[in-house]
Amino acid sequence: MEALKIHIPDNEQYRELGAYIESVRNMPGPLINVLHKAQGIFGYLPMEVQAFISRELDIPLSTVYGVVTFYNFFSMTPRGKYVINVCMGTACYVKGAGKVVDYFKDELKVGEGETTEDNLFTLTTARCFGACGLAPVLMVNEDVYGHVDRKKVTEILKKYRSLG
């Protein structure tokens, strides 16, 4: 993998990331911080962004790629506007989280990790948000919903669809 051969556009997003990288240049072990920032800016981490990070931090692209693929939080594919993250932690599982995932699959016609055709929703699962008392729990972007059942699934989808 040769970092420099990938063309990197000069735009606002890259300038923001570049400025962040400058600010952490003297910090030891900055890669994961930079990846968090990049995913915040771009929404995901395509090869192009990884190549940019590799060049700027002077870390081999294979290392950057290795780290991106190791951690579940980093995604190399674009995500929908709303990421529906259903908790599959133990407490939620015991309270029927598996069914909640099925309801979404049913209603959105996508599988886990997939995005709807209109790019509105991505369906994913996670392991415990620390709100186990409300199981089953899900998050849509940063909003937490507890005691989710079939009715609530329909309501949630309706709400975000109307927001567009």
């Binding site: 890669l31 980093f74 996670a126 620390g130 008392g133 507890g146």
Partner: protein
């Protein structure tokens, strides 16, 4: 200026998702409207514990606990209680035993058996206010350690207290600190493990969100003892609010001089940095966590060397859990002997548990070590919901095991739980009733650990997959006689040969369910029966002819047109077409669809 009344609004994760912040806004608006701002103060606090009752309000000095408060209730509370002094009874907590109103929060059953050290400030102070922390004795322990004690005498108190790691292993904290202290190195580090990977545990989150300075203070004291001037707090990315509050608290502490250069005018300097995880369970393991802080893939490495000799950046490092550090200031202020009086012979102090699953009162509870499992799940947790019965509790998450009712009188400490084949772990307690299938539960945990295995060593990467495959077969009704033995043999081998704690403990949930619920395994294998009616392939659906009102609803919802019948004609499921999706069972308004397993 003192206020006549303080209203604490819980803003733990559970209450926030139940609208507590809107309730707070409504309170502020009402107070503004009635011009009570100088008399009544509204404080946003961390998790108070009884998440099931959320959103929760606690009113001081009356100690009134309001439960499930909604925006629409706010006006009544303000007008009746705050203005006229008449608490709103319909929103107050009632004892489920006597059905009587409970007037003081401390008399609420949920709190009665608790003993709060670690959670003392959670839910009683504003986590974003350093002043409030200082008002309850905050940073006094750090001051005492730095100005009246030396590292050795601090270490002595920790030793006397008997404090052991709350992150799972229960390793004596003073030993860890001593090993690091004895290393000769100019550069040393203090790390806090706030990765909280056990799904079903959320005490670390609550401590950070509810009382972040307690953690900072504990880490600074550790830094003083071992001679470190820098620390890292590794927080999982799933906890954005915790990260925000921690960053804020660190900034406050730096500004005020509790962190930074020459703290309390001594020559001790200490700085903290938050590092955010990226979603990998194995990063809770200490050597993997250190790799992750260094910006690398979070794979574990063999120990020794232990982090105390070679930790982050290859330097001596003390690494402890959030709850462990949260105990430190109390030990310094009250003396180690004080804590040594609480608990059992081998386990001192308290432990915070997160209660969830099929239990009435879910939430956080801090109890003295030695409390029995029964007290925890019945006296505090309220037992199973009406009409259900708890058949097991899972302790220690994916590394732990289950405990059955005949052992519920066991006093909780590190050794007794391990002896039962479970584990203290981080304190996740998940109650399961007759609707949980133990084979499927074991499969659930293995699915988790297979997914989270870092893949570095063969027993874990390959062995766990094999175990998962066998469990999958059993839940699908394809189990064979020799499968149980195969699971046991594989499990024991993996435990003995895996490189890190993940692999070494991953078989536990399987081995422990086989030990206590062998009959469920056998039913799946020999009778093709799942008594909990969970395993889809072992369930069939039938319509009870006498109850069917021929409404056609089920036939409309069946995705494969397996239901014969029309209006006025009793419906019938054609078994060869049915895919056991359960839709008909869910929609029948007359409960005429029956779920069966192992009947033929």
């Amino acid at each position: 200026m003192a206020h006549r009344m303080n209203v604490l609004v819980c803003s733990g994760a559970s209450c926030i998702s139940n609208n507590s912040l809107k309730v707070k806004e409504a309170l502020l608006a009402e107070i503004e409207r009635l011009d009570l701002k100088r008399e009544i103060k509204v404080i946003e606090t961390g998790c108070m514990g009884p998440c099931q009752l959320g959103p929760v309000l606690l009113v001081y000095p009356d100690e009134t606990l309001y439960k499930k408060v909604q925006v629409a209730d706010v006006r009544e509370i303000v007008e009746q209680h705050f203005l006229k002094g008449r608490p709103v009874e319909r929103l107050m907590y009632k004892s489920p035993l006597t059905d009587e109103l409970v007037h003081k929060s401390r008399d609420v059953d949920y709190f009665k058996k608790q003993y709060k050290i670690v959670l003392a400030n959670c839910g009683s102070i504003d986590p974003e206010s350093l002043d409030e922390y200082i008002a309850v004795g905050g940073y006094e322990a750090l001051g005492k350690a730095l100005t009246e004690m030396n590292p050795d005498s601090v270490l002595d108190e920790i030793k006397i207290s008997g404090l052991r790691g709350r992150g799972g292993g229960g390793f004596p904290t003073h030993l860890k600190w001593m090993f690091t202290k004895n290393e000769k190195s100019k550069e040393k580090y203090v790390i806090c493990n706030a990765d909280e990977g056990d799904p079903g545990a959320f005490m670390d989150r609550s401590v950070i969100e509810g009382d972040p300075h307690t953690l900072i203070e504990g880490m600074a004291i550790a830094g003083y003892v071992v001679g470190a001037s820098k620390g890292y707090i590794y927080v999982r990315a799933e906890y954005p609010l915790a990260i925000e509050r921690l960053e804020k608290a660190i900034a406050q502490a730096k500004e005020t001089g509790f962190l930074g250069e020459n703290i309390f005018q001594t020559d001790f300097s200490f700085d903290l940095e938050v590092r955010v995880g990226a979603g990998a369970f194995v990063c809770g393991e200490e050597t993997a966590l250190i790799h992750s802080i260094e910006g690398k893939r979070g794979t574990p490495r063999p120990r020794p060397p232990y982090p105390s000799a070679s930790g982050v950046w290859g330097k001596p490092t003390v690494l402890n859990n959030v709850e462990t550090y949260a105990n430190v200031r109390h030990i310094i202020l009250n003396g180690g002997a004080w804590m040594a009086k609480i608990g059992t012979e081998t386990s001192k102090g308290t432990k915070v548990f997160a209660l969830s699953g099929t239990i009435k009162n879910t939430g956080l509870a801090e109890v003295p070590m030695g409390t029995t499992i029964r007290e925890l799940i019945y006296d505090i947790g309220g037992g199973a919901p009406e009409g259900h019965e708890i058949k097991a509790v899972q302790l220690g998450g994916p590394s732990g095991g289950c405990v059955t009712p005949e052992y519920f009188d066991t006093p909780i400490d590190y050794e007794s739980l391990t002896a039962l084949g479970a584990m203290m772990g981080s304190g996740g307690v998940i109650a399961m009733d007759e609707t949980a299938c133990m084979v499927n539960t074991a499969k659930f945990f293995l699915d988790f650990t297979c997914f989270e295995s870092c893949g570095k060593c063969v027993p874990c990467r390959v062995g766990l997959k094999q175990m998962y495959g066998i469990l999958d077969k059993i839940t699908k009704g394809e189990g064979e006689e020799e499968d149980i033995e195969a699971l046991e043999t594989l499990g024991k081998t993996i435990k003995a040969t895996a490189l890190c704690g993940l692999g070494q403990t991953a078989p536990n949930p399987v081995l422990s369910t086989i030990k206590f619920f062998r009959h469920e395994y056998e039913e799946h294998i020999f009778e093709k029966k799942c008594r909990a009616l969970v395993c889809k392939d072992l369930i069939s659906y039938e319509i009870n002819k006498d109850a069917c009102k021929a409404c056609t609803l089920c036939a409309q919802k069946c995705p494969v047109d397996a239901i014969k019948g029309e209006r006025g004609v009793v419906h019938e499921i054609q078994q060869e077409k049915c895919i056991s999706c359960g839709n008909c069972y869910d929609v029948c308004p007359f409960g005429a669809v029956m779920r069966l397993s192992g009947e033929n």
